[in-house]
């Protein structure tokens, strides 16, 4: 099963500083600038993931008021803190490239108060299936209401089940990004997307283990 693939030396720019103590003087060759910093798929991914993360933050914030067990509460705290910071990271990444950086709040109607109807969010990258504003793995408003109505063990169970699905959706978004020609190669984006893939995979395993420790209460209440 030899996977090695060897090749002769290719064109490598090698700069030699002959006894140069000051580095600035060492090189005059310009670096081959990356042809392009990002692709449309990169932008779609970042913009879409902001919304995706925003829902995870909302779900996680509920732990404190919904009687989550200590374990789930810790998990929620971590997810809320982590994904909130990642929203900042994604917004910064987009803004640094003068791209539209979605603010989840812009999705709300301009006037305050509860939202009364569906406002289709025509964001790039959104799954335009049965639920216009939902990207892969996101909970539907129904599911969100059920989660919000739950308490204690039931909240834990719905949260874990829902967040596993939510994370799996994020993995699908990463997969879609890398399946796109040239997608995900900008360094920070590559690192970020790879982190999401590895980190959320690990978190899914953790949540599945936690799910198994929950008391099995066949809930009858609706």
């Amino acid at each position: 099963m030899s996977l090695s693939n060897t090749r002769p030396a290719a064109a490598i720019l090698s700069l030699v500083a002959v006894g140069a103590a000051l580095l600035g003087a060492a090189s005059s060759l310009p670096a081959q600038a990356a042809a392009k910093d990002y692709t449309p798929a990169d932008v779609t991914f970042m913009q879409g993931m902001i919304m995706h993360h925003a829902q995870a933050v909302v779900m996680s914030d509920w732990a404190a008021t919904h009687g989550a067990s200590a374990n789930v509460a810790i998990l929620c705290r971590r997810i809320a803190l982590s994904q909130h910071d990642e929203i900042d990271l994604m917004q910064h990444w987009l803004q640094a490239r003068h791209l539209s950086a979605p603010d989840p709040l812009d999705m709300l109607h301009p006037h305050t108060g509860p939202v009364h109807d569906t406002s289709p969010m025509h964001m790039p990258g959104m799954d335009m299936g049965s639920h216009p504003m939902l990207m892969s793995g996101m909970l539907t408003p129904d599911e969100m209401r059920q989660l919000d109505a739950a308490h204690g063990t039931e909240f834990d169970r719905l949260f874990l089940t829902g967040m596993i699905k939510h994370h799996q959706g994020a993995l699908a978004m990463v997969a879609a990004l890398f399946a796109t020609p040239g997608g995900g190669q900008q360094s920070e984006l590559f690192g970020f997307a790879t982190d999401i893939d590895a980190g959320q995979r690990a978190e899914i395993a953790r949540m599945q283990a936690m799910l198994k420790t929950l008391p099995t209460t066949p809930s009858q209440t609706r």
């Binding site: 090749r7 090698s14 030699v16 580095l23 081959q32 914030d61 404190a64 709040l105 919000d148 590895a198």
Partner: protein
Amino acid sequence: MTPSSPTGPRLRASLQALFLAAAPLVLASACSKAAPPASTPPVAQADTTDPRSHLKAGLYDAGVASKGLDLVAHQNKPDVFHPNEPGGLTYANSDLAFGGHYVYQGNFSGIQIWDVADPAKPTLTSATVCFTEQGDVSVYGHLLFVSAENTGSRLDCGTEGIKDTVSKERMLGIRIFDISNPQHPRQVADVQTCRGSHTHTLVPDPKDKGVVYVYVSGLARVRSKAEMASCEMGDITDPNSALFRIEVIRVPLAHPEQAKIVSSPRIFDSLTKAPTHGLAYADTANGAGRRGGRGGRFGPQIPPNSSAADSAHIEELFGKLLAAARSDAATFKVMSDSLEKMGVPVRIPPPMPQGLGGPSQCHDITVYPDAGLAGGACSGYGLLLNIKDPLHPVRIQAVADSNFAFWHSATFSNDASKMLFTDEWGGGTQAKCRATDPLDWGADAIFTIKGDQLTRTAYYKIPDAQTVNENCVAHNGGLVPVPGRDIMVQGWYQGGISVFDFTDPAHPKEIAYFDRGPNDSTKLVIGGFWAGYYYNGYIYGSEIARGLDVFKLTPTADLTQNEIDAAALVHFDRYNPQDQPKLVWPAAFPVARAYLDQLVRDNGLPADRTTAVKTALDDAEKLSGAKRADALKTLGAQLDKDAATATDAAKVRLLAGVVNDMSKQP
């Protein structure tokens, strides 16, 4: 500057409304709770009064705070890596390796070779542009190994990326350079792997001096089979899956072009369930008390014009689907298909294929060949591996920790009785050392090793609060060879360099630090110390944005000049931090005095005795030949006696051992 973000309670309340209200229907009263405060405050808080917390920002003129560390040299990145445009990771400096009087510094876009014959005046020998990410480096003899992981990494080292989803131009794995002439590194081999190389670890063959192995840890997704036929993405039951394993490359030093993968140890086998640390539900108050609560569950969405019988049937199918959702994929599929046929959407995830959600990859492996051990930081686990047969590492133990987001890397104490794992919470690009961030998240976790058991004893995180504009979390480091103590130096990105003592594994303590202010005062510009390592008397820091730094330890109450001098006696011809070398100290006066200083500091021996021993050592040093040997022999005998009654008998014995050994030197 900063975009409005969903942090504040008001904003979060609005967000709730967004996700709850996209469908018409009742906004149940239960939904209108005020947004909760994020959650309970951390147990311990970072210190906002530390001098590191309020430093002036600036790429090259930032404020500096330090204790016990003197910056003796700094060099900016060479121009090819854009030293004045730190805006991203594309030209980020990464890890370091050391060989002779050269420091090899990785960069996401290439490699730099620094001549540190005079560590106070590092000079650039060469800078080679070759886009790889992360570009972590190791050196062995005339070969330099570089990790390549970015899907845009090219065989020809170009920086233009790769546009095709399947491409023969892609290089994911280990690049090997011949550095016989450090002014002209020469690309001699590329070993392709299915998931690329995030990091790698050199393991010299214990018997054959002409062979080194490379353990490859890859985080990236499994590449397309069309690109590399052997790359299967199966679950843990699939022996050909490129997941759930590490790769071992065998490199004949004389023929690097023959380097190839020779084994793929499946170190995750039978590790499907996360051991829970403090996570067992039944152990919590909630677990015993709260059941049922206010109800609510995922119910089926019954189509509006369904008959009563259909509705009942749907309910029944849905019940079975829920029951199967944990582990019975087959039943789940049947129920799910039936429901879909009846027009009922199923939005519950199918059970994960067995093991696919479990740990499937390592971030980093540190081997400690002298102890026959390796520490693997792998997804949600820290692994302890037996590597006595380096081709076939075997898992001894696995630990999980709910405070850890992502296990990043491992370091052993020199006697292999302790190990330290780092948690790279946030991936290193985010600010995780703010006053509000828990001190046990994004930290080091210290474990004791007893047989095959790992027991966590403490966390260590830099004690000061950093700003929101500084990416900061535990990152790469290694041991500082002070005899008699376990001391580590570590890079914390823009949190600076921290040197700390974990001799007492339950009470790690910082003893030195160096920190600059943020790169930018208005926004987070990624930078800081990728790593800090001790090599032959100096500490080298790889600064992501700013270049290379060289430090010397200076004496403080927590570290004496004798201890610093004793550390400098440990000399290596080569140092790859992921291939942890055994520290051995010569029998020499600085080593004896280092032990003596520790006995004084910790009251391990009565003061009158430590004073007498100090005088005896000073006197002996002034003598030579047989007279010195006699004086040392006498002192050694006295110390052997002291050990019987000393508070710290073990340390006195170490001291006696050095003195006795010195007495036998010609």
